[in-house]
């Protein structure tokens, strides 16, 4: 099932992932191959099978809703590319 350039552009927007014009044809072709591969699943008769949510069929355990971590903002913000007055900076979003 070939994916068009338009299909891939839509996926890129959904995934917030830019491709260069040079990357585009190769990605479209290879994604089409991958979709063909995963389409083999359609042949399996899985009527009535309960989808597997956990490899050991366990339920997610919960912990008490208590604060367990201390404030380590300064420590963590050392890895941030751009910080000003303890705030993470992004491009302007309000006119």
């Amino acid at each position: 099932m070939p994916l068009s350039r338009h299909d891939v552009e839509k996926l890129c927007l959904l995934a917030r992932l830019e491709l260069t014009p040079e990357e585009m044809p190769d990605v479209a072709a290879k994604l089409s191959d991958i979709v063909t591969l995963v389409n083999q699943l359609q042949a399996a008769d899985a009527t009535g099978v309960i989808p597997m949510a956990h490899p050991l069929e366990r339920a997610q355990r919960l912990r008490k809703d208590e604060v367990t971590e201390s404030d380590e903002r300064e420590h963590h913000q050392k890895n941030a590319p751009l910080v000003e007055r303890d705030l993470y900076l992004v491009p302007k979003v309000i006119e």
Partner: protein, 485 residues
């Protein structure tokens, strides 16, 4: 010193026949001399290693040492290591200094193991050849024109070349077992949840599992003993107590039944590999094991099911890389959406982009039921096939990979061919089962792996079977040519 196993070095350290500082300096000098041709390490932590070694020597003089105190190891660069670069093989994290230790790392550190550095890997663990790393491919020490497998290729190559005694790895679809097979080492992927995933950069959270790459099953038992166990920081870590693995290895042999799936001896399997694996099975027969032919009805759907589930989870996990809080950030973009897109487009490599887009595709409106839900149903069918098999066999045995290590650049142009390399390993991940690969022969002077798969939480049984095999054979003692000295 590098010819000895962890078990042997542990004895030598405890008896003070060698110091951790001597060992650490010896392995650091091997890395300095030999790794330029292998590219197995992204970061070497020489200064930290030497100070850890001195602390280990002090501890060895007390009664507080563990079997790993003073033993030089390395961590796959997917594990967060406090104060040390944790790149995950990606440009996206090239500048990331982890503010904390992964639980597996912390436990090994507390046991006194010495970290020599962080090993190279496929970017975000997405690959089967180590060629998707931002830091360049790792070369297989058996033939440097070939790949070491992936994604834990740096760990596998480092252990095979005796640059380190043992290393951590992670296995989402075969990423410990396949490189172990390609480099002639012992690779163990425990049961899903056996080792905490806290601090392991997430790829596909319902499949990811940490494990070990070592020379022998005996050494794997020593490392896994420390790494395994419950963790309040990982809600999927299993609460079951961890048995004494080394004790299990030492217990007398009991006759077991090995199930051999006919599906694992398909047309895709190289005939020399098939012959080598069959000879390995006869070693088990010689030990008194019964070999039983079995059939896993749906296992042929493992690869397509995996390439829905894993990319879907990856597309969600990797949405955290946005250029704002940590990691790579583009420059000169005014619009927020464009900023995210450019940052991620520049920060991720080609294979990671393909997986994110595949995951986005299978999760998008109108496709969810046909792909993701169907894959989770097929996953259940595959899991039921294994469960049924384990009603009549103790372990499942077969090849780890279809062929020995392939050439660098041989499969990079065709992702589907690359994906099919994991055809025998993916099933254990989908079903959450423990599995290992150990060397069982050579084909064209390259190592071949024998895979054993067990029921949930049967690591002790798996390690014991591997240990008895290694007592009967010497494939695990072979050193790649040029790396003995």
């Amino acid at each position: 010193m590098h010819e000895a196993t962890i078990a042997q070095l542990s004895q030598a350290l405890q008896n003070r026949r060698v110091s951790s500082r001597e060992l650490t300096e010896h392995f650091l000098s091997r890395i300095a001399r030999l790794d330029a041709d292998l590219n197995a390490f992204i970061t070497v932590t020489q200064d930290e290693a030497l100070s850890q070694a001195d602390a280990a020597d002090a501890r060895l003089a007390t009664s507080k040492a563990t079997p790993l105190t003073g033993i030089p190891i390395a961590h796959k660069d997917i594990f967060c290591t406090k104060g040390v670069k944790t790149s995950c093989g990606s440009r996206m994290l090239d500048n990331f200094i982890s503010p904390y230790d992964a639980t597996a790392v912390a436990k090994l550190k507390q046991a006194g193991a010495i970290m020599l550095g962080k090993t190279n890997m496929d970017e975000f663990a997405m690959g089967s050849s180590n060629e998707t790393s931002y830091y360049g491919p790792v070369h297989n020490p058996w033939d440097r024109d070939r790949v070491p497998g992936g994604s834990s290729g740096g760990s596998a190559a480092a252990v095979a070349a005796r640059l380190v005694c043992g290393a951590t790895g992670t296995d989402t679809g075969g990423s410990i077992r396949q490189p172990a097979a390609f480099t002639g080492v012992t690779g163990v992927k425990p049961t899903y949840g056996r080792v905490s995933r806290y601090g392991m950069v997430a790829f596909a959270s319902s499949l990811d599992q940490a494990g070990t790459l070592t020379r022998t099953a005996e050494d794997a038992a020593l490392m896994l003993q420390i790494m395994s166990g419950n963790d309040e920081r990982d809600s999927t870590a299993l609460p079951e107590p961890v048995p004494d693995f080394s004790k299990a290895l030492g217990s007398p042999w009991e006759n077991i039944t090995l199930g051999v799936p006919d599906n694992f001896f398909d047309d895709g399997l190289n005939s020399d590999n098939a012959q080598t694996v069959r000879e390995a099975l006869s070693v088990f027969e010689g030990l008194g094991a019964t070999i039983k032919d079995i059939h896993l009805e749906n296992v042929h759907l493992s690869v397509p099911a995996y390439y829905v589930v894993a990319p879907a989870e990856a597309s969600s996990n990797l949405s955290r890389f946005d250029g704002v809080r940590f990691g790579y950030r583009t420059e000169g973009v005014e619009d927020l959406t464009e900023f995210y897109m450019r940052t991620r487009g520049e920060g991720f490599g080609a294979e990671v982009k393909r997986r994110i887009l595949t995951g986005t595709y299978v999760l998008s409106a109108g496709y969810y039921d046909a792909y993701y839900l169907q894959a989770q149903k097929v996953r259940k069918l595959i899991s039921q096939d294994f469960a049924r098999a384990f009603e009549s066999v103790d372990l499942i045995a077969g090849p780890t990979t279809p062929t020995p290590a392939f050439g660098i650049d041989q499969k990079t142009g065709d992702p589907i061919q690359m994906y099919l390399n994991d055809i025998y390993t993916i099933g254990a991940n989908l079903a959450g089962l423990p599995a290992l690969s150990m060397p069982c022969g050579l084909v064209d002077s390259l190592p071949v792996g024998l895979q054993l798969i067990g029921p949930h939480l049967s690591e002790d049984r798996l390690l014991k079977a591997a240990h008895y095999f290694q007592k009967e054979t010497d494939w695990h003692t072979l050193v790649p040519p040029g790396y003995a000295n």
